[in-house]
Symmetry: C2
Subunit: 302 residues, 2 copies
């Protein structure tokens, strides 16, 4: 458990898994329109709101998010950007719903704020992660040896795809799931897939969750940024039902991360870290995805 003040929200859930709350009225809205025949129709649409993240007195970024778990999002974003270090003492996380801000307060006040100023000057500001700095963090990184049973992959995919979620309720959202063996532990969703990963990172940082025996599952593509974030979080396995980018594969091979993509029904492709795989499941015994298992209608972004 990282050093934090005892009153820092949010508290650890009494029991895991932490699952999506598709029934939470703050997360979706019914919106009326028309369908192809001209008939009125009403559909569930995910909310999307700005959340401005501060580190002490410094405004860092405004993220677009569904708005659940703002504290985890802020902590994980700052951690994944290298602005919060592993040994930083977080003295408070104050979320103000009305003005849509979250302020992370730390004991140490100087170095990362200086770094932030430097970043601002050198990389400019607009869209995109400060990439050079993220790559720096990979130097010398060694991900732990870990077994990855194919039976776990199949069990996780089946369970995640059938768990009630905002995705199944309203679509237009990404999911990221922290798993251990065949168990989903924390299932986060967000309009941006990076937010979903950052919320996982914030959860792990806040509650001192070990990373070396975990698997990260994402509905999103296996891009360089997703691979870098997973590696920096210390998680040795990243799996997705979506596809790869070439640079994502290159980085995974450099840092020794196991990369599984196109995981659907009995199929998957492993492009990095094959040595962790234990093929204990017979793919022929795994059902192909039925209509209920398949992520519905969903096909814009592999």
């Amino acid at each position: 458990m990282p050093p934090t003040s005892p009153d820092m929200p949010p508290d650890m859930p009494a029991a895991l898994p932490l699952l999506p709350r598709p029934g939470d009225p703050r997360l979706t809205r019914r919106i009326s329109g028309t369908d192809q025949t001209g008939a009125s129709t009403e559909i569930s649409v995910v909310e999307e709101r700005p959340l401005t993240i501060y580190l002490n007195s410094q405004e860092i970024v405004t993220a677009m998010t569904i708005g659940d778990y703002p504290e985890y999002l802020a902590l994980g974003f700052l951690r994944n950007q290298g602005m919060l270090l592993a040994d930083d003492i977080v003295t408070g996380v104050d979320y103000d719903e009305e003005v849509e801000t979250v302020v992370v307060r730390t004991g140490r006040r100087t170095s990362y704020e200086e770094k932030m100023k430097k970043k601002t000057r050198t990389s400019g500001c607009a869209v995109g992660t400060v990439f050079g700095d993220m790559m720096e963090g990979l130097e010398g990184l060694v991900l732990p040896a870990a077994a990855l049973r194919t039976s776990w992959l199949y069990a996780l995919a089946r369970e995640i795809n059938t768990t009630p979620s905002l995705y199944l309720e309203a679509g237009a959202i990404h999911g990221t799931v922290l798993c251990q063996g065949e168990r989903p532990l924390v299932y986060m969703e967000d309009v941006g897939r990076h937010n979903a990963v950052d919320k996982i990172a914030g959860f792990m940082f806040r509650h001192g969750i070990a990373a070396g025996d975990k698997i990260l599952y994402t509905t999103g593509r296996l891009t360089s940024e997703m691979v870098i974030k997973t590696a920096l979080m210390g998680i040795p396995v990243l799996a997705s039902r979506s596809g790869f980018t070439a640079w994502g594969v290159e980085i995974a091979r450099e840092v020794g991360l196991t990369l599984i993509g196109r995981l659907r029904g009995q199929r998957f492709v492993c492009l990095a870290g094959e040595e962790r795989l234990i093929r204990d499941a017979d793919p022929a015994a795994v059902a192909n995805e039925g209509a209920r298992n398949r992520r519905k209608g969903a096909d814009a972004d592999v």
Copy 2:
């Protein structure tokens, strides 16, 4: 045509449509791995490279891109961020492949660079668009009246989904298409959907393409940022096979943009700007998507 120096690359293509080049060896790579049975497999994977964009002497951002059309991406990014104004005189666009940079040079050198410095201070730097400034540009915006025939929507969806593309070759990529009536004019793909839109914006800015009679089609979700970009580009119709976010719908209604989502086979939903729709096609006569029409395997990000 906006005022530009006559030698500014790239030149207008001799004929439209400008289509994806899935056979271009710089855009995909064959990568070997294993499949679920342990057998060796080799798949096509899209490239992803950094491109650092400069405005005159100011470094603005590093974007992750497949790397085609860096000049359009730079121009469109700067235009969509409000850093290049409609009447700015672009005196040169210099792309250096080796160091992965593109420099946009302008006649006017002061105001937007000041604005940039202000942005850097007020919004901080990391991930996410400088949102406040984009919203500012929407004030007083009126999108032109335009007819949108449902027969065009069906014809466009069918043609775009069956046109050879990096998506059909390798997956893990987004597409955005500038259309007029039932004709695709410019079909751009990129690892980030915002890059694909920015390349379209750069094309329109560079070649002085009118926006009021166009339709923008995207494979990505209809989020607030996508709606804002489309509106700022002056295009009155945005259509997608993916879903909506609530704020995207709100903004579309405020600025009078027609928003069509979940466009698949004979189905679609219109949540804003219904008044432009002319229902001249009988949905029952439209085939539902066959396996060949469907975006293959693609379902992570609606």
